[in-house]
């Protein structure tokens, strides 16, 4: 079995599990993930609550399932946002060059000069910690690197002979951009988008850790971990399961991303 096939499977398995859990979690969870039951606070994993309960007596498994949906949809939307903005700006900057390029890129460089975590933090303080604010803030924080990659691959594609061939055939710049350049920069873009997906998941949980992030009571793995912190010493499961979910899904994403990169970027094959 080739390495990337193995990675597809190794990475795909946990991803499929989490996506499945997210999907099921939208319609059915063992308990209502928001229901507070103050009489069964901090119960260890057992027959009634498979993964135990949290500090409000809410069922951990149900919350993890519900959180999978939130985490996945936030990450997906954010990546989609960055993808759309990055492709538009990157293709325009790379193809137009000149002043347009310079303006876009110096704005971009200015944003890149901040660690994306800090940028998201600052933006999040403005937009407020709600779902849309988070997507907007994270999306804006991650767009610059996408712009950079897209522009880079547009610049290198421009030098390829099939772009010349398109011009020779009498095609307009816009047509060439859409028909030849855009589809061909999707490879590196998808590779970046995959790793970005993991990165967004991680940043969202880190922001929750610092007190921002998705507002409770809607659970995400990140804010579950953050609220679990004070109880970790006596309720280990509260910290372990969300942490495991994050780590495992990131592992899945990373392996899956490697497999995708192997397909799109043969130069990196075998990594």
């Amino acid at each position: 079995m080739k390495r990337h096939q193995r990675n597809y499977i190794l990475g795909g398995a946990p991803l499929a599990c989490f996506l499945g859990a997210a999907l099921i979690g939208r319609f059915w969870t063992p308990f209502n993930p928001m229901r507070i039951d103050l009489r069964s606070k901090l119960q260890p994993p057992g027959a009634a609550h498979w993964l135990g309960t949290d500090e409000f007596g809410r069922d951990l498994l149900s919350r993890l399932m519900a959180a999978a949906g939130t985490s996945v949809s936030i990450s997906l939307t954010t990546v989609f946002f960055a993808l759309l903005a990055g492709l538009t700006l990157g293709v325009i900057a790379g193809y137009a060059r000149g002043w347009t390029d310079r303006v876009v890129m110096s704005l971009n460089d200015a944003l890149l000069a901040f660690p994306s975590m800090l940028l998201a933090l600052a933006l999040l303080s403005i937009t407020g910690a709600n779902m849309y604010g988070i997507i907007l803030a994270l999306g804006m924080a991650y767009t610059p690197s996408m712009v950079r990659v897209v522009r880079g691959s547009v610049l290198s594609l421009r030098e390829r002979e099939f772009i010349d061939a398109s011009r020779i055939m009498g095609n307009s710049a816009a047509y060439t951009m859409l028909r030849h350049i855009l589809p061909n920069c999707l490879g590196p873009v998808i590779v970046l988008a995959t790793s970005m997906f993991g990165s967004v998941l991680l940043t969202e949980s880190a922001l929750s850790f610092l007190g921002l992030g998705v507002p409770p009571p809607a659970p995400t793995w990140g804010n579950m971990l953050a609220s679990a912190r004070p109880h970790i010493a006596e309720a280990m499961w509260l910290g372990i399961f969300p942490g495991l979910c994050i780590s495992l899904s990131l592992l899945g994403i990373n392996l899956f991303g490697d497999a995708i990169r192997d397909r799109f970027d043969p130069r990196m094959r075998g990594l």
Binding site: M34, R35, I36, L38, G128, A129, G211, P215, P216, P217
Partner: protein, 516 residues
């Protein structure tokens, strides 16, 4: 396993002098969640700063255990018949930290400088904009200071003793640089302000020449005998880390712990939990100008849906005392009349909602994560409201943003804590007033407002009691906010610490011992 461990031990011991918890026996290590804002009493302060600085500075008077005014640097005082002139007799032989002996001139200079400082956080208490204006401060001889007001003010001494005013602490001239800027406090308290590493922490050292007065500790007055060599404050913003530090012995005292944390430590051996309610208010505010919440029936519906004792019990992990009156549960004025509170009655809710014309509109509860109590309150309240068909949602804001909403009055329901109010009159004054004049007012009612003003000028306890009883009845009737409990600061002391008590939430370190 054992080999690397022993090597590590040896290695550690070589560095032992620098590690907290392994330091010289009589250093008490204390967590502060944020660095202090300044070392100047009453200026650029917050509650955490007050708590540190009040170990160093003292005022003429101090608040006693029950909120009554006690002598501190003044051994006694008299008030003129018109109530406008206060004559303080100073204690003799009190030494500043630099060795100088305190004189009336020092007191007069220091008070004058503080009260006239535009950045003084209690400026409005003394410039006539709220109550009386201080007309003059004069030294009469070496040991007498005379303060004249423009009108009588029952709260004057109370203001002077307030922590947020830095207890109007007396400092020596050498606390300032030559250009008039603040250097560091040279005061008269039992601790000397030591090294301050910004962002990391600071050290207070025992003041050997402190002149002890009184026979037992009494609030910020009374006997202040220091049994330690120094107190080292370490900035540890993260609660979980602080608890880990307490367990490992790196920290001796965590003065402000979320109740949930403290409750867990309660069962562990050797830890002392120190919990005492103070005059702060744990509340859920209603915005009475909001289209929905302006309806009294709606507010009563919300209150009937809330099992407030259960909420208090949950959010304080059994450490808090439910109290539905703005008169603090520990106050002299908290009589049986004030034990009357809300009635938890979910069955009454539908009727009230119908009366209010509620049609399932969304109600947003604002809260924050800075205060575990606010946060937990909102979560539990939301669950209770939803279970009776009130469409409540939670919006978690960052503290500064929530404060902004509080000050501008833009909210429907908000979980909010008021800081310590030492007198019931002050507690009422905080929430009562005119929204038009002050947007962060909660209870906008002219009659209540008049009653509150009266209570602040009335010196007779019996008459005051009557006013407070009247106010409480109106409070329950109008339900401008949900009063849940009084402020609760929970501290935990490690196994080596003896004698740590908290008062009104303040961490005082006289009378505290630390075993080897």
């Amino acid at each position: 396993m054992s080999l690397p461990r022993s090597i590590l031990r040896a290695f550690l011991s070589s560095a032992a002098l620098a590690l907290p918890g392994m330091a010289a026996a009589n250093t008490l290590t204390v967590q502060i969640t944020a660095d202090i804002r300044s070392s100047q009493p009453g200026i650029n302060r917050d509650a955490g700063t007050d708590s540190v600085v009040l170990n160093v500075v003292e005022g003429l008077v101090a608040a006693g255990d029950k909120g009554e005014i006690r002598p501190m640097l003044a051994k006694s005082w008299t008030v003129s018949a018109d109530g406008k002139t206060y004559t303080f007799a100073l204690r003799e032989g009190v030494k500043f930290h630099n060795g100088a002996t305190m004189t009336a001139a020092d007191v007069q200079w220091s008070l004058e400088k503080l009260i006239r400082d535009p950045e003084f956080s209690c400026k409005t208490f003394f410039d006539g904009s709220r109550d009386a204006k201080v007309e003059s401060i004069k030294a009469a001889g070496d040991h007498t200071v005379v303060v004249t007001l423009d009108r009588p003010d029952a709260m004057f001494l109370n203001y002077m003793a307030q922590a947020q005013c830095g207890s109007t602490g007396i400092v020596h001239r050498s606390s300032f640089n030559e250009d008039g800027s603040w250097k560091a406090p040279v005061a008269t308290g039992p601790f000397v302000f030591g090294e301050w590493k910004r962002g990391e922490g600071l050290t207070l050292k025992k003041f050997a020449d402190y002149s002890i007065t009184g026979d037992k500790p009494d609030g910020y007055g009374g006997r202040k005998e220091v049994l330690l060599d120094e107190v080292k404050y370490v900035v540890v913003p993260d609660t979980a880390t602080a608890v880990a530090g307490l367990r490992s012995g790196a920290l001796d005292v965590l003065p402000y712990l979320p109740p949930g944390e403290a409750a867990k430590l309660k069962d562990e051996k050797g830890f002392t939990i120190v919990a005492a309610p103070h005059g702060g208010l744990v509340t859920m505010l209603f915005q009475t100008t909001d289209p929905l919440m302006s309806n009294v029936a709606m507010r009563h519906a919300v209150i009937a849906a809330l099992d407030t004792p259960q909420i208090v019990d949950s959010v304080t992990y059994g450490l808090g005392i439910p109290n539905n009156s703005l008169v603090a549960s520990g106050s002299l004025y908290h009589t049986a009349a004030h034990d009357k509170g809300y009635v938890y009655d979910p069955s009454a809710v539908p009727g009230l909602l119908q009366k209010a014309g509620y049609k399932g509109e969304k109600i947003t509860i604002l809260t924050n994560r800075r205060s575990a109590i606010n946060y937990d309150t909102a979560i539990i309240a939301q669950a209770m409201l939803q279970s009776v068909g009130i469409n409540a949602e939670i919006e978690v804001l960052e503290w500064a943003s929530q404060l902004d909403r509080f000050n501008s009055g833009k909210y429907q329901i908000m979980a909010f804590n008021y800081s310590n109010r030492t007198d019931p009159g002050l507690a009422y004054q905080t929430v009562v007033g005119s929204k038009a004049k002050k947007a962060n007012t909660v209870w906008d009612d002219t009659e209540a407002s008049a009653l509150v003003n009266k209570s602040l000028q009335e010196a007779d306890p019996a008459k005051r009691q009557a006013i407070f009883d009247d106010l409480h009845a109106r409070f329950l009737d109008q339900a401008p906010l949900v009063m849940l409990a009084n402020g609760l600061d929970v501290g935990v002391a490690g196994p080596k610490v003896k004698g740590y008590r908290t008062w009104q939430g303040f961490a005082r370190f006289w009378g505290v011992e630390r075993r080897k």
